[in-house]
Symmetry: C2
Subunit: 765 residues, 2 copies
């Protein structure tokens, strides 16, 4: 127990339960970067805890999923359901969102609630959806087919989740970038128009024909579209060939166009998007850091008592608070945090240390168990026998890894060979048993819980792939021998699993592992971009389905009836769309629409798709495709690239420098932290063994007694996300006594404030 130092007299009462709960709410808001400043009445606090309860959050996610998946059941549907069923489901979802919003309003101050755009968005969307439902329903009742336009707004609910902060940020980024991008886009369009005029004058009167025999560059609108497509490079060099065939010099026109519009303008788009992304990212990080500081100060002010000349929080109060905020914390972990916060063991925590509480709770301290191998405890005479030790040394040896790398490569060659050969299908069994043996040998050598540790990604990967392959192969063989036929699905899975095993070679090459590790670290944040793309795709898919459904039909590719050759629509006769057999690229259901949109994102041949759908509807339909290109390829993809660039730069600067917060330093000083290091040459498990082993033997003993056997590692990978890292960098720059601007100022921070007045060499370069 602490309290060895002189304990000052504290005349005050322990804080009331309500005050403690309120303070705990502030702290947990700060800990999770939640943005819920609330009222201080006891009822509001209870509502706050209920609002943040995990069941409520799961429920709301469930309703969001239901609402979004309704598109699968509405016309044009994958699985059709009557309108009544889907509309009832939708109304239930809307009620749930409404309830959640009312709940939120009841725990938030009015100013903050109405200042938050996402609340207003939710309200507007709910109202619009209801209006749309009523209109559509009444039209349906009199058998007029209406348009369910409000379905495109459904992703708003997903965006408004508290956990979708990254998606909202990306959208804010887009919104903030719009004014800048708009002028570049207008200039770009102007340039396209000027070039179109030139093309019309230069090539319009020559009677040239394209390779398909169509007239070449005779209509200004068609020229503008062709040149817009050329920016995306999708019709290069076909669009140039007729002119180039006439005269060598005309190619200069197209090359100039490509340099200006494709290379320079597209780079400028990336530069503008990236610059804005970076600027706003920094601003938001700063906002979050100040908000956190603000909330912690509020919490401190609630709990402080005066000791001597300064205000502090008593140790007992601190302990109670931590227990409320993190009910699952182990008592030894709590003890460690207290030791860090109350360095001099004075029996109370001062303001500066108190402000750190949220960060302290965020550090995942992993208790390191230096366990012996279970076999060593059960059958030590066998496990420690010389034969067993030899096996263990063999497995730990580098040559063991090499042998298995060679086996994998041989396996790859066998896979590439024809599997009809019975010898090769026998070899497959051999390889499987070799892999199983490897895992068993490793489990024999290394401690199993360490081998399957939380961070041992590749061990998990290995084992799961092998077990799945084993199960699938056995199933397949038994089906085959029992029913004399191959199940194509199971066979496909077996094949993919078999090939995925080859990925293990990556682990053996250190440089590969570094790249893959970096990619996996930014993986979770990349998934939020999946969310952003999903939201945009969903809206466009709904619009696309309304515009184009049932215009194009897919027939079996072996059909060669005239109808099948033009995708069931005579308008497509002779078009590139039909010639390339793109009939399955249609908007007839949600899944197909998503695939078409993916193809449009990849850009190539998008003009063929746009041309096809324009033929079956109207030329103006091309605008839908141009809009999609501008939004997804110019904005979303560039934000994605900006994000990857930023993440890589942060990862690079992290590699070179060693940023440690004061907290981690203190954990290090207390000697209980084993900072995880990048493992360079050895397998992860090996490294962990030796590291922990040496630690316990050499200098651990003294501290073991002091801290009752708690050994912690900081799960430092957490900091490898761009967000967390940037926030940490910024926090290390605000002085500890800086209380930050007022809440109102924080909410109104603008990115232009953040610019350094005189950038230095390192910054701007």
């Amino acid at each position: 127990m602490p309290g060895v130092g002189p304990r000052p007299e504290s005349p005050e009462e322990p804080p009331a339960q309500e005050v403690l709960l309120l303070a705990a709410a502030y702290v947990s808001d700060a800990q999770y970067n939640r943005n819920v400043p609330f009222e201080t009445s006891p009822r509001a606090i209870r509502r706050y805890y209920f609002y943040n309860n995990w069941t409520m959050r799961v429920a709301i996610y469930f309703f969001i999923c239901v609402d979004l998946s309704l598109a699968l059941f509405e016309e044009p549907a994958l699985f059709p359901l009557p309108f009544l069923a889907t509309s009832v489901a939708e109304v239930i979802c809307l009620t749930a969102f409404c309830g959640r919003l009312v709940h939120f309003a009841s725990i938030t101050s009015r100013v903050v609630f109405w200042k938050d755009t996402k609340n207003i968005c939710i309200m507007v969307t709910i109202v619009l959806t209801l209006i749309d439902l009523i209109i559509y329903g009444s039209l349906e009742a009199v058998h007029i087919h209406g348009v369910r336009w409000s379905r495109a707004l459904r992703p708003v609910f997903l965006i408004s989740c508290p956990e979708s902060r990254q998606i909202r940020r990306a959208f804010r980024s887009i919104r903030n970038t719009l004014p800048d991008i708009l002028y570049v886009f207008l200039l770009f369009l102007f340039s396209v128009l000027v070039f179109s005029l030139m093309a019309l004058k230069l090539f319009g009167d020559r009677g040239l024909r394209t390779a398909e025999g169509a007239p070449y560059f005779t209509n200004i609108l068609e020229i503008a579209f062709e040149l817009y497509v050329l920016v995306t490079t999708a019709n290069s060099p076909d669009v140039m060939m007729p002119a180039y065939n006439v005269n060598w010099w005309y190619s200069l026109y197209f090359i100039t166009y490509i340099i200006i519009n494709t290379y320079i303008f597209m780079s400028v788009f990336l530069a503008v998007v990236y610059n804005n992304y970076r600027k706003h990212l920094k601003n938001e990080i700063r906002k979050l850091a100040y908000l956190k500081r603000h909330k912690m100060i509020e919490a401190f002010n609630l709990l402080k008592v005066q000791v001597g000349t300064e205000f502090v929080v008593k140790e007992a109060t601190w302990r109670q608070l931590a227990k409320v905020v993190a009910p699952d914390i182990s008592s030894s972990h709590l003890e460690l945090l207290l030791r860090i916060s109350d360095e001099g063991q004075k029996g109370h925590v001062d303001k500066m240390n108190f402000l750190r509480l949220a960060d302290l709770l965020n550090i995942q301290v992993v208790t390191v168990n230096i366990k012996r191998h279970p076999l060593e405890s059960w059958v030590p005479w066998i496990y420690q026998s010389s034969a067993s030790l030899l096996v263990q040394r063999m497995v730990r040896h580098r040559i063991f890894v090499w042998i298995y790398d060679i086996i994998i490569l041989i396996n790859a060659i066998f896979i590439a060979l024809d599997e009809k050969n019975p010898f090769i299908s026998c070899a497959e069994w051999l390889f499987l048993s070799l892999y199983v043996m490897e895992i068993l040998l490793k489990l024999y050598t290394y401690e199993p819980t360490a081998y399957f540790g939380r961070r041992q990604f590749w061990n998990w990967f290995d084992t799961l792939i092998i077990i799945a392959a084993l199960v699938a192969t056995v199933t397949n063989t038994s089906i085959q021998s029992a029913k004399k036929y191959n199940s194509q699905q199971i066979l496909d899975i077996v094949l993919i699993l078999r090939i995925l095993r080859l990925l293990r070679v990556i682990v053996s090459v250190q440089r590969f592992r570094v790249i893959v590790t970096t990619l996996m670290n930014i993986g979770p944040t990349m998934l939020t971009f999946g969310g952003l793309v999903f939201v945009v795709y969903y809206a466009f898919a709904v619009i696309g389905m309304e515009m184009f459904h049932s215009k194009v039909h897919f027939f079996d590719p072996n059909f060669t009836t005239p109808d099948a050759l033009v995708c069931g629509n005579p308008a497509l006769k002779g078009s590139a769309f039909a010639r390339d057999r793109y009939c399955k690229n249609n908007f007839n259901d949600l899944a197909s629409s998503f695939i078409v949109l993916t193809e449009l994102t990849v850009v190539n041949q998008w003009h063929v798709l746009a041309g096809g759908f324009a033929l079956v509807t109207h030329q103006a339909a091309k605008l839908y495709f141009i809009l999609f290109h501008a939004v997804v390829v110019i904005l979303v993809v560039n934000i994605f690239i900006a994000f990857i660039l930023e993440a890589f730069f942060v990862a690079y600067s992290l590699e070179k420098s060693d940023i440690e917060t004061a907290i981690e330093k203190k954990i290090q000083e207390l000697g209980v932290g084993v900072q995880e290091e990048d493992v360079k040459d050895r397998k992860l498990t090996e490294n962990m063994d030796t590291k922990d082993g040496s630690f316990s033997r050499e200098d651990g003993d003294r501290r073991r007694t002091a801290l009752k056997g708690l050994y912690c590692r900081i799960a430092s990978k957490k900091y490898r996300t761009v967000d967390a890292l940037l926030q940490r960098m910024f926090e290390s720059e605000i002085a500890p006594e800086d209380e930050g601007p007022s809440l109102d100022e924080i909410l109104n921070l603008s990115p232009s404030d953040i610019y350094p007045k005189s950038p230095n060499f390192e910054n701007s370069a």
Copy 2:
């Protein structure tokens, strides 16, 4: 004359002419960032001045041009010349390069000479070219056709020019990036191979056919090539359609592939290239800054005399030195620089101020002449009459600009209309005369030398376009009326000029002007990328011509003989190359090769080109195209994007912050600098008038007497190049008394030294 302050006694003699010349050489090296440390003997100095003489430099550029253009005359040639002629020309060029190198060696210390890779490159290239010439010549003599492989090395001479520093830097960037990029590339290839194996197993046995009826995914090498093409998106979605037609789920395979390989890996390539570019850019800038400091200290040490306790350079010596370094400097300009360097007018310049000399000479001080309009001096009674003043007020008014913007838009509509109409061709004359009138009116209102000032880009643009259009239209009309036929060339020029006039609208929209200004500022550096691309293209074009010349022939597009339809090569029968009529995309001469390479850079349809040339030679020829893609699209284009991003970020941070060096501050203090500002709302000329006008009237008078009528503006746009700006930023960070590391250390600086030990928030974000 200065010298008002107390002038200390200087017992030393004035420096000898040779010492002065040597010091001047150091200073001018520092001024132009030349990298020629030399010996100190008088003959070496004379050789140094001879080496840097402009005639010598022009001569060497001439020889480089001749050498490079030889490819136009050698087989396969645009303009064939006998081998003897081209080889004699080449030997002459080689002799010139050799002489230049010997000259350079004679003024450089041996260590520096041999340390410089470019010297060794030149020597190796000269030797290799000679060997190649001899082998080829002797083979030719016995009528065996050899390969002139050394022609691909010719760009080495261009790269080695002292003025090609940016190209060399880009190449160094590429070389330094290679190790990092190589592992990512290998991992990427590994991923492509794993996916190829999967595709072979999943789709190989199904007997699927592509839209053209070819077997689908049956050969592992073909699959790997198709998947590599898919990374460049050139065959999307065609490559997916057969599998997608079979089953919806197979599209997931392709989408996964595209996400991993196209989006993530390509972004990682950009991130790696950009990161390395940035790192090495900073390192080189630092090197340059230290070298400059080093040279200036050498110069100071040569000229210093002791006054009291410190070493200084006497004013007379300083004056002589400046005259030698910059012979064209005006005496009032010199006086200004002296006033800045010798602040206290003590009659000598101390070390710190002396070190700045190179920077001072680099500042382009533009003398601002506040002239009156010539008409005002000649015929004041007319020019100042109320009618004349009204005209001037009208022209200066904003509405005048708007009227002309409307005229331009109307003109655009007329251009888009059919010009066969006689009314419209009359309108063209009307527009022309309106534009001429506008220029005349402006010249009447604004002072002509100010209107055609050096920085008035748009005025020049206007006038030149209008004059050219006038000349071309008149020529065209006179030819037409005299010979009754239209010259197509002149007509094309007239058309283009007519449309270029529309660009003037850009000037009227301020946001457009800002974007265009930024682009024009980074324009010159972008041209150096043109150099880089030229070098790479040249090498690939020479190789391509050796491999593919005369394999494909171009026939008139109206020919429909079977031979013309397969580009004169039966191997192309039924290929996509022939179907798309790509016959003119061939390697039959240098110009065609360059255009094919441009098309390959744009990426789309590159697999069709590669496939075509593989059919007429060998499947292995695809490697040439894959290599080109890896080098140009993955490396060069990414470096280009990195450069644009960097340039934009520097421009952005420059916009927000106000970096002024001490020198400029001093010019401002002396009140003679009129810092040029971004003109926001008014036309450039207007702004200049008022600005300068008010300056001369308000507080200029007092200083006019003091500085003998010299009014200067700092041509600050010079600093808007990334290089100059970064160098300035870095220099402001080294302390004035810091002498930098030794010359040897400077030359060995590595980018890893530059990384900040603990990056701060602004840096890494």
